[in-house]
């Protein structure tokens, strides 16, 4: 046998392999660099504030009144407001969310589940302005009458709305966690003569606890970072509720403050810098939540027993407590009665969630349909949007989203490929991963602010399509990375080994046998991102959106109309455009929900098609 080594070919091949790897590494690092860059940029813009106000005063001051005769820049009430609204949202969303997830994963017959799960996930597709709009007009009024208070704009209104907005995340992620508990646990428990409820409460939920925690924290991230809906329903009074438990007190959040004031503040003034200070604090709070989440999940996983070593600090007592709480069994009741009660509650949770969805959708559809006409869909607006149509806004939204995807998709897929195929550990990878997690938790208003300060002002792009695309692109990047990674991870290792064992290179393996079956998963992620980008207002508020144009943009430096922004302006600035408001809300809803429905259908199909 002759020596078949061909050093030159092998050398070239290795060079190519190294090159490909380097590109993906760069893509993966991008996310982390972006986070640090955003943080530094915001910090840098916030620093001049401290010439006037000391950091302590800024953080602990009780009054936010930057335009008073004696301006004061205390954000303590805003911090408290943010935390209270989030807390309230979690009190509403966690029991409903976990209950629904358990019900969907364990109780719902397949047919019910096939309808209910996508329906609930559609809640995630409703743009936040639409929620805000609904909250402003329906929810606050209902609260005012129901509780007989002067105004319904309150902490409670904000929490209800944010709770509903966090539900889809919590339900969807918890349900996945429950579904991925091996069915052997379920069988093992039932075979011992445990009832279904005992199996759920004592085995399945505890086994899924780390996933459920992740779900709750992701939901919490969404609540903390939400801007537009909060602005519209919390009243925005920068006060700490008195007493602190006064749910009906108005309240103001950090995000709300940014959303309201950023556009109006004189660039370079102390107030301007103070708002960057607010953004930094907001970012740090979300970072803290995210890091805490990561830590908690790690600890729970470590405690699950698969890990080799026990940690000094264990969450075990907490877990035991939780599982005991879940299994709150008043002894006198028989096991079957307990099960009936528990199941009734679980079903009720799903019922409430579906009812909320139905009410919101129904309200907008009923009021929006009269506005829909051929003209409305194909003409530019006239008379401030009180007549004419919203065609440029539809097209503008599609442009923005298209651009964002073009920017985020290659980077996102590259990063995911790097993370899932080229690395398994190490510090750099951990840093990259944390960066992506943090980017994922960054509130959209912070992206908006960054886009405004960096792209629009610093790089002097102006309010333009390109600034909006980049801002939205950054915002959806983590979603694309995560779903792609997930899709890649679902490709069994045996397939990779099979290819490598045939003498394929790593990149050949990735491009020929790993990526193709992951395409449906990647598409799902992309579509979800499109839905998210299409429905977001905060990031384009200061970067890309124009109130009205007759023509479509003909270069990337033109600003565009966009549906969520149009709705926001119609709802808050143009009197006498109610019909068009609802019409725009309906079109936006149909667009986003349509995109989500496509994603859900796609996932369903691919789940059926590819079975390993």
């Amino acid at each position: 046998m002759t020596e078949t080594h061909q050093p030159r070919r092998a050398g070239l091949r290795n060079l190519k392999e190294q090159g490909v790897r380097a590109i993906w590494f760069l893509a993966a690092s991008f996310a982390t660099l972006t986070v640090f860059f955003i943080l530094l940029f915001l910090l840098n813009n916030a620093l001049p504030l401290f010439a006037t106000v000391s950091p302590i005063e800024f953080l602990t001051g009780g009054t936010w009144n930057p335009t008073g005769a004696v301006p004061s820049y205390g954000i303590w009430p805003l911090i408290v407001g943010t935390l209270l609204v989030t807390l309230g949202a979690m009190v509403i969303a966690v029991p409903l969310g976990i209950g629904s997830a358990v019900c969907l994963a364990e109780l719902a017959p397949p047919r019910v589940k096939a309808v209910a799960k996508p329906a609930i996930e559609l809640l995630a597709g409703i743009p936040s302005v639409v929620y805000g709009f609904f909250g402003l007009i329906v929810l606050t009024d209902w609260l005012r009458i129901a509780f007989d208070v002067p105004s319904g704009e309150s902490w409670l209104a904000g929490s209800i709305l944010l709770g509903v907005m966090a539900l889809p995340t919590i339900i969807s992620v918890s349900e996945d966690a429950l579904r991925s508990v091996p069915s052997s646990y379920r069988e093992g428990s039932l075979a011992l003569g445990a009832t279904r409820w005992e199996t759920i409460s004592r085995v399945l939920v505890p086994a899924a606890l780390s996933g459920i925690t992740a779900a709750v924290i992701l939901g919490m991230g969404r609540a903390i970072g939400e801007t537009m809906a909060v602005i519209m329903v919390t009243g925005n009074a920068a006060i700490i509720p008195d007493p602190i438990t006064n749910l009906l007190s108005p309240i103001r959040t950090l995000t709300g403050t940014l959303g309201i004031e950023m556009g109006e503040v004189a660039v370079g003034s102390t107030h301007y810098h103070a708002l960057f200070g607010v953004a930094v604090v907001l970012l740090f709070i979300t970072l803290a939540v995210n890091l805490a989440a990561l830590w908690i999940m790690k600890t729970i996983r470590a405690g699950e027993g698969t890990a080799k070593k026990r940690r000094g600090l264990s969450l075990r007592p907490v877990r035991e407590k939780i599982s005991r709480a879940v299994a709150l069994v008043p002894r006198p009741l028989s096991r079957t009665t307990v099960q009936h009660l528990a199941f009734a509650l679980l079903w009720a949770a799903v019922g409430v969630v579906i009812a909320v969805l139905a009410v919101i959708l129904g309200y907008i559809i009923v009021n929006g349909l009269p506005a829909i006409s051929w003209e409305f869909l194909t003409q530019p607006p006239r008379d401030l949007g009180r007549a004419g149509g919203i065609f440029p806004a539809i097209v503008g939204t599609l442009y923005l989203v298209g651009g964002a995807i073009l920017i985020a998709l290659p980077i996102g897929i590259g990063a995911a490929v790097y993370l899932s195929e080229y690395t398994r550990g190490g510090r750099v990878t951990a840093a990259i991963r944390t960066g992506i997690d943090l980017l994922n938790g960054t509130p959209s208003i912070v992206f908006g602010l960054f886009g405004f300060a960096f792209l629009v002002i610093f790089l002097n792009f102006g309010v333009s399509l390109i600034a909006g695309m980049i801002t939205l692109g950054l915002m959806i990047l983590p979603t694309i990375i995560r779903t792609t990674e997930e899709a890649l991870r679902n490709v069994p290792a045996s397939v990779r080994e099979g290819s490598l064992a045939l003498g394929a290179t790593r990149w050949q393996t990735i491009s020929r046998v790993v990526l193709p079956p992951a395409v449906p998963g990647i598409l799902t992620g992309t579509i979800l991102s499109i839905g998210r980008a299409a429905g977001e207002t905060a990031p384009i508020l200061f970067t890309a959106a124009v109130f009205s144009t007759r023509f479509l943009p003909d270069s990337l430096s033109d600003p565009v109309m966009a549906l969520p922004y149009h709705l926001y302006i119609l709802a808050t600035t143009v009197p006498g455009a109610e019909t068009q408001q609802y019409g725009t809300a309906l079109v936006l809803l149909v667009l986003v929900v349509g995109i989500y429905a496509a994603a859900i259908a796609l996932r369903h199909r691919s789940e059926k098609k590819i079975q390993w």
């Binding site: 009054t63 009144n65 930057p66 335009t67 008073g68 005769a69 402003l136 007009i137 005012r144 002067p150 105004s151 319904g152 704009e153 602005i231 519209m232 009243g235 925005n236 009074a237 920068a238 006060i239 108005p250 103001r252 959303g259 309201i260 004031e261 556009g263 109006e264 503040v265 004189a266 660039v267 370079g268 003034s269 107030h271 301007y272 006239r382 008379d383 401030l384 002002i457 002097n460 102006g462 309010v463 390109i466 508020l541 200061f542 959106a545 124009v546 109130f547 009205s548 144009t549 007759r550 270069s555 990337l556 033109d558 600003p559 302006i569 709802a571 808050t572 600035t573 143009v574 009197p575």
Partner: protein, 261 residues
């Protein structure tokens, strides 16, 4: 956006200018721009909101041709952009509004101030029904609020519990659905969903209206500005001239603002 993509443009390039800034001035700018473009089909005027500061920043930084503001330049802005030229395009009366069911009569400026300071907390103290007052105002960056802060509050602080809204429309919406609410908005936002409160000046109630502002009787009014970087030229100049022409000022009046010519 390289300079090499010129050939891709259609031969009859539209001349385009952009206008950005205060949402208060936006309706005037948008509606006059619509009419202007109808008569000058080769021009395009893009109007965007963002707020007074965005407008000033945009025109000063060169990303917009005209900046709109419902306030005057502030000191940092004056130093940063010394070349900005102001054009007053309209005047705006600021009306106090309450829920249509509210029976309160005319208020003096002092009474309004007391309400906004939080000293008066029930409508029955000022001749209205026995109902808690819900104070609705604008956000701390708003030009309208700043003006109100000077003209009515005499620079004293607002009550901390006031609900803050970031647009005239949002104030109007909230007042329209809250029986105990009081708010302030530009004249353009008055409609049947809310009720105006006349201001008592020297013992006589004055309704906020174009006539009373023009006549100088209504006390709470301000000017609305458009800024250019240096003296305007080209389309910007034509457009500003159009706003100040009788046609333009008719629109100003139709939208509920007070013409300046």
């Amino acid at each position: 956006m390289g300079n090499g993509d010129k050939p891709a443009q259609p031969p009859e390039t539209r001349e385009s200018i952009s206008v950005a800034g205060s949402t208060t001035v936006l309706p005037i700018a948008q509606l006059t721009a619509d009419l202007f473009m109808d008569t000058n089909p080769k021009t395009e005027i893009q109007v965007s909101g963002g707020g007074s500061s965005v407008g000033i920043q945009a025109v000063g930084g060169g990303t917009a041709d005209i900046g709109m503001a419902s306030r005057d330049l502030k000191d940092p802005e004056k130093t940063k952009f010394p070349d900005l030229v102001s054009h007053v395009v309209a005047r705006d009366g600021i009306a106090l509004i309450v829920h249509p069911s509210n029976t309160v009569g005319p208020l003096t400026i002092a009474e309004v101030k007391a309400i906004y300071k939080g000293e008066t907390v029930n409508w029955n103290k000022v001749g209205g029904p026995d109902e808690t007052i819900v104070v609705v105002g604008r956000d701390s960056a708003s030009g309208t609020r700043e003006f109100f802060h000077d003209a009515v509050m005499e620079k004293e602080d607002f009550v901390a519990t006031q609900l803050e809204k970031n647009s005239n429309g949002a104030v109007q919406q909230t007042v329209a659905q809250t029986p105990g609410a009081i708010g302030y908005v530009g004249l353009g936002y008055l409609d049947r969903s809310v009720k105006t409160v006349p201001i008592e000046v020297n013992g006589t109630p004055v309704e906020p209206s174009v006539a009373t502002v023009t006549g100088g009787e209504y006390p709470i009014a301000r000017s609305l500005n458009m800024f250019t970087d240096g003296e305007p030229t080209g389309v910007a100049q034509e457009y500003l001239e159009f706003i100040l022409s009788p046609d333009g000022q008719r629109i100003v009046e139709e939208e509920g603002f007070v013409p300046v010519q």
